[in-house]
Amino acid sequence: MAPLMEVRQLVKTYGSTRAVNGITFTIEAGRCTALLGPNGAGKTTTLNMLSGLLKPTSGEIRFDGATKGEDLRAYIGYLPQYTAYYNWMTGREFLIYVGQLTGMDKRSAVQRAEELLRLVGIEDAKHRRIGGYSGGMKQRLGLAQAMMHRPRLLVLDEPVSALDPIGRREVLELMKRIRQETTILFSTHVLPDAEEVCDDVLIIRQGEIVIAGSLDEIRKSNQRPVIELELEDGEALADWLPALRELAGSAAVEQNGPVVRFTVEDADELPRIRQQLMIRLAELKAPLSRLEIARTSLEDLFMEAVRR
């Protein structure tokens, strides 16, 4: 099956700075993809280009079923990072207005608006003016307005970043429900949010994609064993450290307070390092309080990817 959206060598420059520097990716129908990266990595710029608000400096965006150069706005539902509304309208009026703008007749727009107001849970406030809505309600209305015309791709820019913990939980739950029906691409700088709702991740740094793939694959292929040991006395650690470093071989050693962490690059080396480490610790009579063999988490990978 052809992918829903194909992006090739997308570039956006502002003067001499390259906000987005030739990114290429595809989005499969029916999947939820997270565009993950630190602030300023080019996430919003990328999404604005996909939604047609910005013109790419160069590159190509192809959408399944659309002819080349066709206006893609009809296929995409977009929730910007900062929502803005006509504050004098009620929530229901705004949805109907948006529906009619996308070519629905009044009756089906009313029907769809009622349906979505129920889905996003702001039915009680539908006859109130948007000016009086809370941030969480505006964000839900934002989701509803993006879905009005049943777009084939829903693009959400930082849908939960501005919300308090409760609002954030609610919107994440909502996204889990929406993803049953619609393909979603959303940006975030918070890894747990991405892990919670999405299938695929695109990690972006300084306008370039550094890691792309399904969450499971990335987890598997990038996991490395980690040995963590903690001593009772953090200050004594300085004396032990050179001895520990010696036997680490190719593993990276990091110290953080009383904790030493060995990230083992080559998984085959793990048994040797583990064994030698235990012998050495016994010899040194190190006041050990914890020894743990774990695997690098996605968080570690993310930090490494965006820091590099």
């Binding site: 206006d71 706005r73 910007p80 006509y86 009619q100 703008l101 307005q145």
Partner: protein, 259 residues
């Protein structure tokens, strides 16, 4: 076309909800009727103001209905224009600054429809305010001062309304191209002043200039019908408006909607 009416209806509703449909016509009626009423009561006003020596006799020339009507249009030319510019300067720029233009234009909405719907709504409001103002003024002038013919009023009102429509078009076109409301208002008023000055300095030449419309409106009231040469100015104004809208749409289309 259906989409255009959805946009247009929203503009009318917005102008209604924020009371533009009430206060702009009201200001126009008041600006207009002030003229015949203050002219009628001028002797009393002067007397009440005092400061005149005992026994002073003031001789005021008897004003005619036509003079009063022309003066009323003069009020629209200054204060009335300012009101319109202030009311419409943010039509598009404010929506862009707040981000709501992005929310709307990320839907499959044509830039031309978005802009012309706003323009049409503003023009409707301008013309309704002008017509109501002129009708009110006409009523009080007939009651208090003297008669003015209906066809004179009609011609004068149309010519003057066209002049205001041109300036509203300019305001909205600038609003699509610039971000700062202050700059939009300033440029519009500057152009209005420049057009008037050029047409008054050019004597009998350049009779087709849009700036002449206000003179023609006065002349239409004085002579009871379309004055000679007015059609040239009407045509040049209509062409000017079409050009302005065309330029505004093409510039707006190229603008990036987000910063």
């Amino acid at each position: 076309m259906k989409q255009w009416f959805v946009l247009f209806r929203k503009e009318l509703l917005e102008a209604w909800r924020n009371y533009k449909w009430i206060w702009i016509p009201l200001v126009y009626v008041m600006l207009g009727i002030m003229q015949p009423i203050s002219t009628y009561f001028l002797p009393e006003i002067l007397e009440a103001a005092g400061g005149l020596p005992e026994g002073a006799i003031i001789q005021l020339p008897e004003p005619t209905g036509v003079e009063v009507m022309v003066k009323a249009l003069g009020n629209y030319q200054t204060l009335g224009l300012l009101i319109l510019v202030l009311a419409f300067m943010g039509t598009i720029s404010a929506e862009r600054v707040s981000g709501v233009a992005g929310m709307v234009l990320v839907k499959p909405v044509s830039f031309a429809s978005y802009l012309t719907a706003k323009w049409a709504s503003a023009v409707c409001l301008t013309l309704v305010a002008t017509v109501l103002g002129v009708l009110g003024t006409w009523y009080y002038t007939e009651e208090l001062i003297g008669p003015v013919s209906g066809s004179a009023i009609l011609a004068g009102c149309l010519l003057f309304g066209l002049w205001l429509t041109l300036l509203v078009t300019l305001t909205i076109a600038l609003s699509a191209m610039m971000r700062s409301s202050g700059a939009i208002a300033f440029v519009t008023l500057l152009v209005a002043a420049a057009l008037s000055i050029v047409s008054s300095l050019s004597g009998t030449k350049l009779s087709w200039m849009p700036g002449r419309l206000t003179n023609y409106a006065g002349a239409a009231i004085a002579q009871g019908g379309m004055p000679d040469g007015a059609w040239g100015a009407v045509i040049s104004t209509v062409i000017g408006m079409i050009l302005l809208l065309y330029i505004a749409v093409s510039v707006f289309r190229k603008k990036e909607l987000v910063a």
